[in-house]
């Protein structure tokens, strides 16, 4: 059995919350993370919302906003699936609108859901996990939230006035391009805040090797975003200047999405899935009630997965590539591209294997978080396997819906992972424990929907269904698969709406939430639920990577 004797922890439960001063960056406008003891803002509740520098409040707003973006993107995706399955008969949407919706669906899932949801979760959890009183650069974090919100609204407005990739309105497209720059820049600022928190605000004794896996995965993911998304900004700046003044470099609107396609394709798409490994890695040992062996290997696996998700090189027309109709990026034969796609399976497999080893060595208890964690890991494994198959040249899958299926699986893994994270950290996020039963069902529904949708698109791709929403592009004989994909997308949408309803219902419930309902192993469980201002009564000191772990965690758990 993998359980080792507990190491000493100097962390005591929070008795008398007082502010601590690990950093001088704590904003003056900082409020409590919980409900008790909120200082009064002279501008009232609205002022305290708009002017907050509190990491928990910013995180909750990022998370809430991202779920609005998720629902919108899923609705668009569902309409596209329905359109694809009925392309031979009735077309609900015209050609321009179809191209707009393709970009709205794929870019929207990344920019309006994936990154802000993860950053929101990180703002909420990372400071607690590393023993910090707040997030680094609280005001910059707040600025990133509001810039993202405004940018997202303009981004959607760009589509509504007929702009965006494939749109016919030139000014609308200019608006969309500027809004995209704004959204990505704001997310980069937020990423810098999270990365700086992990690098600079770790409590005493917490070396990088002892950082909890979710925080470490956000360090890796944030670093990868900071390395790659500025390249997307460079693309957008060039496209904007060209589109507005010349249309000489990229032509009209139709070249915008191919130029930005690398952001939503492999290997870059894995950059949004890195924290899935961290979420699973933090949840599994707690529910297995065991210390994970080979902790350093988990950290390394997450780091390797991050390195394999650097995809900014996979752009249109890079030197030495032959661009063809079925391979618009000209990367089918690129050894680096092929190697990264194949190797991406290994770190995911490694983290899951270590999770299985931990469960085998412990006393597994079941609950919504571990159900979601395992499902998200398995769906992500499926996505990486699909990605590896995608680059097998004799199969000739480029340009088919195979890549779209892989995208759906990756995003599905992320949605399930985020849901698992919300259920796990709900006491710290909302000060409430979410009901376990519905959590398990909803995780299963979203995972099933993602698998259905992804598998159907993979199968359609294997049958040479082109990745094009244009009417008449559907290959005969795959209509049933397109219908299955639409059913899967509907299932995911249903599950997400139910998750939102469950969270709202729990928030309205008035109950006494224990500080540590799971017998958690990391520092966030040493804080109150919800955490008080400053998070910790005094700066904690940790001596190993699981400072709260005891072999008798079940007895410690308060549920």
């Amino acid at each position: 059995m993998a359980i080792r004797p507990p190491l000493t922890s100097t962390v005591d439960p929070v008795e008398a919350p007082t502010p601590m001063t690990i950093t001088e960056t704590a904003p003056d406008t900082g409020t409590t993370t919980g409900s008790a003891g909120s200082p009064q803002n002279e501008f009232g509740e609205l002022g305290s919302v708009l002017g907050t520098g509190d990491h928990a409040r910013i995180g909750r707003m990022f998370l809430g906003g991202s779920f609005i973006g998720l629902v919108a993107a899923l609705v668009v995706g569902l309409l596209l699936d329905i359109e694809r399955s009925s392309a031979d008969s009735v077309s609900l949407l015209d050609n321009d609108m179809l191209l707009q919706m393709v970009s709205a669906h794929r870019m929207g899932l990344v920019l309006l859901f994936a990154l802000p949801a993860l950053l929101g979760l990180a703002f909420l959890v990372v400071p607690l996990q590393v023993g910090a009183s707040t997030v680094a650069f609280g005001r910059a974090a707040a600025m990133s939230l509001w810039t993202w919100a405004l940018g997202s609204a303009l981004w959607i407005a760009g589509y509504l006035v007929g702009g965006g990739p494939g749109g016919s309105d030139l000014r609308g497209t200019d608006l969309w391009l500027l809004a995209s720059i704004m959204v990505i820049a704001s997310l980069l600022v937020a990423s810098a805040c999270v990365v700086t928190t992990v690098l600079g605000l770790r409590t005493r004794g917490m070396t990088l090797g002892r950082v909890p896996l979710f925080s470490f995965s956000m360090l890796v993911a944030g670093s990868i975003w900071l390395l790659t998304l500025p390249v997307a900004i460079a693309n957008l700046v060039l496209i904007y200047i060209d589109h507005r003044y010349a249309q000489a470099l990229f032509g009209a609107n139709e070249q915008i999405l191919p130029q930005l396609g690398w952001v939503v394709g492999q290997p870059q798409i894995y950059a949004i899935a890195i924290p899935v490994l961290g979420i699973a890695g933090d949840i599994i040992p707690v529910f297995a009630q065991a210390r994970q062996r080979f902790y350093g290997v988990s950290l390394a696996a997450i780091g390797v997965f991050g390195a394999l998700s650097i995809g900014a090189f996979a752009q249109t027309g890079m030197p030495g590539r032959t661009i063809s109709e079925g391979d618009p990026l000209g990367i089918a034969g690129d050894p680096l591209y092929i190697g990264m796609a194949v190797l991406a399976i290994l770190p995911v497999l490694m983290v899951l294997a270590l999770g299985a080893d931990t469960m085998r060595g412990g006393r597994l208890k079941f609950g919504a978080p571990i159900a979601g964690a395992l499902l998200s890991g398995l769906v992500l494994l499926g996505a990486t396997v699909a990605g590896a198959v995608d680059v097998v040249e004799p199969l000739d899958l480029f340009g088919t819906t195979w890549a779209l299926g892989q995208f759906q699986l990756t995003v599905g893994a992320l949605i399930v992972g985020v849901v698992a994270g919300i259920w796990f950290w709900a006491p710290k996020i909302y000060g409430r424990t979410l009901a376990s039963g519905p959590g398990q069902v909803l995780s299963a529904i979203v995972a099933l929907g993602s698998l259905l949708s992804g598998a159907a698109l993979l199968a359609a791709g294997a049958l040479d269904q082109p990745d094009s929403p244009a009417p008449g592009a559907v290959r005969d004989g795959v209509e049933a698969l397109d219908l299955v994909a639409a059913a899967g997308a509907a299932l995911v949408l249903l599950g997400v709406v139910a998750v939102i309803a469950a969270v709202f219902q729990a928030r309205n419930r008035d109950d006494d939430t224990p500080d540590d309902p799971w017998g958690g192993h990391t520092l966030e469980w040493a804080t109150a639920s919800p955490p008080v201002r400053g998070n910790f009564a005094e700066a904690p000191e940790v001596l190993d990577e699981r400072p709260l772990f005891t072999p008798n965690a079940e007895e410690d758990a308060q549920l």
Partner: protein, 206 residues
């Protein structure tokens, strides 16, 4: 008459001495370094497209004679920014020695040089006379995007330096703790390096 015993100087820390404070996290420097990395990647993306297009275009990318990019103003701009790199380092040296007068003086010189650079950039753009939608549209899009990004970075560096100088003016920074000014100086150097690369790759090599 009593004899005062000479004080014994020792580097042995007494056992009952209080523990040293933990090292203060250098958040502003970390955040600045991350921002510089992000800017570097923006330039990487821009230059990747630039070199690709230039390679595809072949000879005559930037024409000789009328309509070319004059090297002299671009070189003067390089010298101006190189001088600002020296004066901005003077800011760091001065605050590290608690010399507040020199801090303000050197920060002022640095900002004046930056304004001169912006003025020279405006002159160069006029001398080039390239319209984005004109004869050299592809080159103009790329060159204006790259040089514009560097100007944006320099303006950000100016704002950063002004804010940190105001903090110094308010007495916030000392010889022991001047992290904010150090970060502003670091960012300034990055903006200078960015222009040096532009000068070498675009203005000089053509």
């Amino acid at each position: 008459m009593s004899v005062v015993a000479p004080a014994v100087v020792t580097d042995v820390i007494p056992a009952d001495a209080p523990a040293a404070d933990p090292a203060r996290p250098r958040l502003v420097l970390i955040g600045t370094a991350l921002t510089i990395v992000a800017f570097a990647m923006v330039f990487t993306g821009l230059f990747a497209t630039y070199f690709l297009q230039r390679a595809e275009f072949g000879p005559g990318w930037i024409p000789d004679g009328a309509g070319t990019i004059p090297l002299s103003p671009a070189s003067v701009m390089l010298v101006t920014l190189a001088m600002s790199a020296i004066t901005v380092q003077w800011v760091k040296w001065a605050i590290a020695n608690d010399d507040r007068l020199n801090t303000y003086l050197s920060a002022g010189f640095t900002l004046v040089l930056a304004v001169a650079f912006l003025n020279q950039a405006s002159f160069l753009y006029t001398a080039m006379g390239w319209e984005v939608g004109g004869e050299h549209a592809v080159q103009a899009v790329l060159i204006y995007a790259i040089t514009g990004a560097q100007i944006l970075m320099l303006v950000a560096a100016m704002v950063f330096l002004v804010l940190m100088s105001l903090r110094a003016l308010a007495g916030q920074y000392t010889a022991r703790d001047h992290e904010g000014l150090t970060a502003a100086v670091l960012f300034w150097h990055a903006a200078v390096v960015a222009y040096a690369v532009i000068w070498a790759a675009i203005y000089n090599v053509k």
